[in-house]
């Protein structure tokens, strides 16, 4: 079984240098991670979210459009109840 890549499963070949560095960090024993290393990982995930939101807003990578506006709470009347 291949060693899993937490950042890009199942495609570790697509990693850039920064991702490869982070991947090595979070693939290792998590007990050895420092707060700073975890913060880097969280920052990476937040960057991904910002990029995804931009792509989605521009329609560049919108595979399946959201059916409801972001933040909308689905109420019984939305369901016809």
């Amino acid at each position: 079984m291949p060693n899993p890549s937490p950042l890009t499963e199942p495609d570790p070949l697509s990693m850039n240098e920064e991702m490869r560095r982070l991947d090595t960090i979070v693939s290792g024993d998590p007990r050895a991670l420092t707060r700073a290393q975890r913060d880097q990982f969280v920052a990476y995930l937040r960057d991904l979210r910002v990029q995804w939101a931009k792509d989605e807003a521009s329609g560049a990578k919108r595979a399946k459009a959201p059916k409801l506006p972001p933040g909308h709470i689905v109420m019984p009347e939305d369901l016809g109840l």
């Binding site: 899993p4 937490p6 975890r38 913060d39 059916k67 939305d78 369901l79």
Partner: protein
């Protein structure tokens, strides 16, 4: 039964195959297929069966719930959003690491794996953590109202014994938009989120049971259920929140039906036979026991022993602090 070791306290001591304490999982199994129920639940003296291979969907859901719980605990202790998020991330990194093999949890599911799990947790808590209109209730003991175990005795009796409803609710929260208290739950899915997705919770066994029980077991009135749905895709996690309504008349109907379902359970237990519902075999991607039921009855035990492991699902086992 006195000479046999009791493995599951949810069952009767008089009729060991008759379950008296029901949670939404076991009740849902009974409604789906009595045979699947019996194989999964076993009895007072025999554990049930579970597939050897772990369900990635179950694992993923448990990890997300655990992360939310860790986050809520940290926030209740006065930690900032970032510190609480770090607690949740740190916990998840550790819980998804195999210390025997010294390697991270491996899932070959393209949408539900360690990376998408951590991404979902961070994105979800960033979305609903710091400025959430649903604020987790703090209990009198200072702990957050999360993973709340409940049990309530009903006036239904089967086999002459009283029936208990029990389970675990994710979170009690007060909504800033109406100042009422709700049961909040998280569901993860591969489906696109929309009204179609939320429609499937009405009717729904789990949420009807939770709504019914919440009217009785908590000191503060519960207005309803709110689901935080997380759509997990390869490149993104998307979230949508929805209210799951139940009128009192619907809950009364559900409870009345419950009595009939449990009469059936008693009937099956007394016969010592749990019929297959062969219209359910292909639901939800296929029943794990389909391959067992496909064999002639005389060799099913051998197949079970080969591809399943024993597991006890005791609904009375508490998880939370209440």
């Amino acid at each position: 039964m006195s000479e046999q070791i009791r493995v599951n306290n949810a069952f009767s001591t008089v009729l060991p195959t008759l379950q008296l304490a029901w949670d939404s999982t076991s009740l849902g199994l009974l409604k789906e297929c009595p045979r699947k129920y019996q194989l999964t639940m076993g009895s007072a003296v025999e554990p049930g069966w579970s597939p050897r291979t772990e369900s990635v969907h179950l694992r993923f859901g448990i990890e997300v719930h655990d992360a939310r719980r860790i986050y809520d605990y940290a926030r209740t202790q006065g930690n900032s959003h970032d510190d609480a998020l770090d607690d949740a991330v740190s916990h998840t990194l550790c819980s998804t690491y195999d210390y025997d093999l010294m390697r991270p949890w491996f899932s070959d599911h393209k949408e539900k794996n360690r990376f998408t799990l951590l991404r979902t947790i961070v994105w979800y808590l960033d979305e609903y953590g710091p400025n959430d209109p649903l604020q987790t209730v703090t209990l009198a003991n200072g702990k957050p109202a999360v993973e709340l175990s409940f049990r309530m005795q009903t006036d239904i009796r089967i086999g002459g014994e009283p029936v208990t409803l029990c389970g675990h609710m994710d979170r009690l929260a007060v909504a800033s938009f109406d100042q009422r208290t709700y049961i909040a739950d998280i569901k993860t899915t591969g489906s696109t989120l929309g009204t179609d997705y939320f429609s499937k919770f009405s009717p729904d066994n789990q949420f009807s049971l939770y709504s019914f029980a919440s009217k009785v077991v908590y000191s503060q009135p519960v207005a309803g259920l709110i689901v935080d749905a997380a759509q997990i895709a390869v490149t993104f996690s998307r979230f949508q929140r929805g209210l799951v309504p139940r009128h009192q008349a619907q809950l009364d109907e559900w409870y009345s039906d419950l009595g009939i379902w449990l009469e059936q359970a008693e009937s099956f237990a007394r016969r010592g036979h749990w019929p297959m519902n062969d219209k359910s075999c292909n639901n939800y991607g296929g029943c794990p026991f389909r391959g067992i039921c496909a064999h002639v009855p005389s060799i099913r035990d051998k197949w079970l022993q080969a591809s399943f492991v024993h597991r006890t699902w005791d609904p009375l086992r508490a998880r939370g602090d209440v």
